[in-house]
Amino acid sequence: MSEHHITPLKTYLAVAGTLFFLTAVTVWVSYFDFGSFNIIIAMGVATMKASIVALFFMHLLWDDKKNLTMFVMSLMFLGIFITVTLLDTGFRGGVNSEVEYPINNRATFYDSLPLTDTHGHPVDEHSADQHGEDEDHH
């Protein structure tokens, strides 16, 4: 199998370097507030990283194009799944506004949950006992 393409070591190291760099970029960007652009930037960077991994580490760049087709197909079907589902979930209220939102936006079990501090401990003693009982109930 010596006729297979052997990628030079330099390429691999450069690819890994780029991946680290892009990771740093995406974390750095997340500290700024660009509104909905944050999502677009984060997904754009993730897609760049994913493409690099697929093309170089997974050898799709040098492989039989059938394999690339297979991979692109998977993304295409995933795209179909997401887009077409959103056609429903994003437009429920199109004609009758009652249909748009659930009747209760908050599941009922929250009513019996006590408020907690940042360590998950109930804020006051009384509700702590109740909370303990609740857990036994499960």
Binding site: F77, F81, D88, T89, F91, A107
Partner: protein
Amino acid sequence: MAENQKQNYLTHPKGIMSWLLTLDHKRIGLMYLFGGIIFFFLGGVLALGMRLELAAPGNDFVSNDTYNNMYTLHGAIMIFLFIIPAIPGALGNILLPLMLGAKDVAFPRLNLASFYIYTIGALFVMYTIISGGVDTGWTFYTPYSTTSTSNVIPMTMGIFVIGFSSILTGLNFIATIHKMRIPGLTWYKLPLFVWALYGTSLVQITATPVIAITMVLLILERLLGIGIFDPALGGDPVLYQHFFWFYSHPAVYIMILPAFGIISEIIPVHSRKKVWGYKFIAFSTLSIAFIGFLVWGHHMFTSGQSVFSQIVFSFITYFVGIPTGVKIFSWMLTMYKGQVSFTPPMLYALSFLFLFTIGGLTGIFLGAVALDIHLHDTYFVVAHFHYVMQGGTIIAFLGGLHHWWPKSMGTMYNQTVASICCLGVFLGFNGTFFPQFLLGLRGMPRRYATYDQQFAELHNYSSFWSGILGLSIFISIMNLLWSLRKNNKLDPGTNPWGGMTLEWTHTTSPPHPHNFEEEPVLEHGPYDYDKVIVEPTFKK
């Protein structure tokens, strides 16, 4: 050479372990066939039980709960344990490498593994039945499936496991079709059954993972209350339906595409005529497989999904109709200027054309949103999908079984009995399901154990004919099995229908353990009845 001729995959090697651990695709195919027929029988018995209950309006035979268990298991067994694995797993496995001139599928060990995964899934289903059944319907709609006290978890586990068997078969076939063809066997020289299996496999590997993850989410919803599908916890039941039908609509094409492939083989061979519109049939297979991924929402026209998606789904649904129509016309015209023999496989193919056309055309009614709102979840839908699944897939499966029986088993069944059974299946099927269209129009909902007096006459009629249907299928399978009796062997050189594909022309019946004595050399295309004469030979 004489000794070699006696050696075939059925008799060599010997012993039970040589079957259980076999890597031979033909033996694995036979094991699938055996498993499939057992579940076909079980599903059929459940169906007849349901028809018995429905013969009269009240709870005359079983209680509501028993009926709900029966129809759920009938659906789940027929779909997940019989139709989906039966054609690709049985006929596909036996024939695919033979048609490609290969010695085996690409990954024989994976092939055996996928059979055993199927068996494990089947065990889960059997456990469900023994431990009290499941009553949610094969669709497992939430929140009923998350609150029902019946055995939802083992059943969904079973479906999850069977999904992997389906995925492994699919990826095995794709690799086989791409890489295992003999030199010279280009895409346009492939038998159409191979194209059909290719389309099927693509759908299998793309759609099946989604049902697997859906079943996982459903199980977690029951165990942990994750709140994705259960409205009591903030989830959305309509989202579950999207997940479910993203698999289950393409699954319809996993079921019907191989049937198209079988019909595309039977009609040219038994008409001794070049197939009409080879490329149209081949590409319509792929386009149906693709469009099938975009139309799942037509199962949800009354679910409350957005009006926008209703329109989009209805629109795309019609694009499935066009390539399907092209196929039907092409099969019909294949007989033009041919030499049509009315053999049992051909009779099945002709009944397929009749029944599947009805099944396809009634789909047009259901694709029109306004009309579907009236017909949704009524017996019209029940009749429609039985015309497609039974009138289409199962009839084609029986036809294929009769067509390739002499090839795979080396024996010939009684053709007169087989033809009479085919007629019985045809009449019994129409008698059972045609009245159900009328019931649906009148507004008879599906999944009812009892019903109003106004529906009694048609239900009673349907039940009567279902007995004839069941009996005919039973006798036709017994007829096949009876041919396996001693001293009924055909001469290994037999080619009873004059088939032209590699499995008929280049190997014995039953085939050699390694398929071919030596690698076949392609001499002509699969349907070159205008260039080469292949005499049908029939020798004991």
